[in-house]
């Protein structure tokens, strides 16, 4: 556990992020961690104001769709695209969606940074 951390769920993620945007906090970055024992991902959002930092932790199962925060904070789109390439977290409605082609070639279909890799959603839809 990190100090200044708060856990969120899929439903109250966007209201919490909007609240921080209205208070004038700056989004520092996103981090994704694979939880190998629970078959889930941990997505962490880090916020900062005047060098005081806060974190939000969102735990999602592997295939669950996650709403994108790039509508509120534009800079989240680059980090969300990168996490989608590397881990396969299923972000929905990213403002500019590279479709898993930001770092990887289109023929890479498994998520390379996971210990238990799985086929990403976009490749599955392509096969169907």
């Amino acid at each position: 556990m990190l100090p200044n951390e708060q856990a969120v769920t899929l439903e109250n993620l966007l209201p919490e992020v909007q609240k921080r945007f209205d208070e004038g906090l700056r989004l520092v970055g996103l981090t994704a961690v694979e939880l190998t024992d629970q078959n889930a991902f941990d997505v962490l959002y880090h916020f900062d104001k005047d060098l005081n930092v806060q974190h939000l932790r969102l735990t999602v199962p592997k295939e669950a769709p996650v709403p994108s925060t790039s509508g509120i904070y534009f800079l989240a789109l680059l980090a969300e695209n990168e996490i989608k390439d590397q881990f396969g977290v299923n972000f929905q409605n990213i403002l500019i969606d590279f479709g898993c082609a930001l770092y990887m070639e289109p023929e890479v279909v498994t998520s390379p940074f996971c210990k238990f890799t799985y086929v990403k959603k976009s490749a599955k839809e392509g096969e169907e």
Partner: protein
């Protein structure tokens, strides 16, 4: 008006590292820009699976060549938090000295590249000649010119003797004298001002909302510098963040130029206050838990997230470099400028793409 799509990069004479931008142009003015990364992706975060936490110091150093010591210090700070180690004060001061020397050499490198970006090649040579003195200091004190490998988990590997610190102060005087002689050339010369003033403006509101960091943020009026949080020995040293208010390329150049003087002053303060003592503590135990640390790199704010699970290998290491955070402000600066000014604006955020894509 017909729109054309022009590729900028990945190979371009002004870019030190490859980045691809698709520029949508309408009659010489840029309307929109879409980035494309991935040319130097090495997957370094995944190497924690096969290299244990002591060997990872060398991997983290090689994420970026220009600011390598600062990556290593950040990694060591995070791992020391997971192991609950207390680094001796002398090691913290030595880390500050080497980090500030890296900051001076990085800013001199960037000033030279920036001058070369609009064709002023003689000024590029002048700045790099001054930078050679810093490289000599690193080679004789730490063992290597660029990737100095002087940090370990628990402290530093090498010590500075009294004559070495005296020699560092003499070389620093020569560096400062050389930089002062070039001040009016980079800041007051007619051609430099014509090419940089009013180009690539980032307003104060935009800089905050888009998450700009480092000199890009401080050139737009926000006085935010992560060194003020006081990690390693910065809490004992006295300095102010350098701020300019116009938000164009000229302000960012002036911020980086003035930061060289601040860094020289910090090295002098650190050498004056250097305490006696040990330079490293012994490493006991295995890393367990989570840690989040950040430092001020020459390009901005860098954060590391460590997660340990009680074995020799870390479970997750996440590195977010400042150029990664400065790319959305770059996309906001580009609309409205002419095609000939695009290299200057891209260089003014100090792109270090090998850091971005580690």
């Amino acid at each position: 008006m017909a729109r054309t799509v022009l590729p900028f990069g990945p190979q371009h004479p002004v870019l030190p590292e490859p980045i691809h931008l698709k520029l949508v142009i309408e009659e010489e003015k840029v309307v929109e820009a879409i980035p494309n990364l991935g040319y130097v992706h090495r997957g370094l975060e995944k190497l924690v699976d096969i290299r244990d936490f002591n060997q990872m110091v060398n991997i983290c150093e090689r994420v970026c060549g220009i600011c390598s010591c600062i990556h290593a210090v950040n990694y060591c700070m995070g791992t020391e938090q997971l192991l609950s180690l207390e680094v001796p004060t002398r090691a913290n001061y030595l880390r500050v000295i080497w980090m500030e020397l890296h900051r001076i050499h990085s800013h001199l490198l960037w000033l030279g590249l920036f001058a070369d970006g609009f064709g002023f090649e003689s000024l590029f040579m002048q700045f790099w000649r001054i930078r050679e003195k810093i490289m000599d200091v690193m080679e004789s004190t730490a063992g290597n010119r660029v990737v100095i490998s002087v940090n370990i988990v628990g402290g530093v590997r090498r010590d500075l003797s009294a004559e070495q610190t005296k020699w560092i102060l003499e070389e620093l005087d020569k560096v400062e004298k050389g930089v002062r002689q070039l001040e009016s050339t980079i800041l007051n010369e007619y051609t430099v001002c014509k090419r940089t003033k009013g180009i690539g403006v980032l307003t104060k509101e935009q800089a905050h909302q888009l998450g700009a960091v480092g000199p890009t943020l401080r050139g737009s009026g926000w006085a935010q510098d992560v060194r003020m949080t006081g990690y390693t020995a910065y809490g004992d040293l006295d300095f102010e963040p350098v701020v300019e208010h116009d938000g164009d390329c000229y302000s960012r150049t002036k911020v980086r130029f003035r930061e060289i003087y601040v860094a020289c002053d910090l090295v002098r303060q650190a050498i004056a206050k250097l305490p006696a003592g040990e330079i490293a503590v012994k490493v006991k135990g295995k890393p367990d838990g989570e840690a989040w640390t950040r430092v001020e790199q020459p390009r901005g704010e860098l954060y590391y997230y460590h997660k340990g699970n009680g074995t020799n290998h870390l479970a997750r290491l996440r590195i977010r470099t400042p150029t990664f955070a400065n790319i959305p402000p770059l996309l906001a600066m580009l609309p409205g400028i002419t095609l000939a000014d695009v290299p200057i604006v891209v260089l003014s955020i100090d792109p270090c793409i090998s850091c971005t894509e580690r």
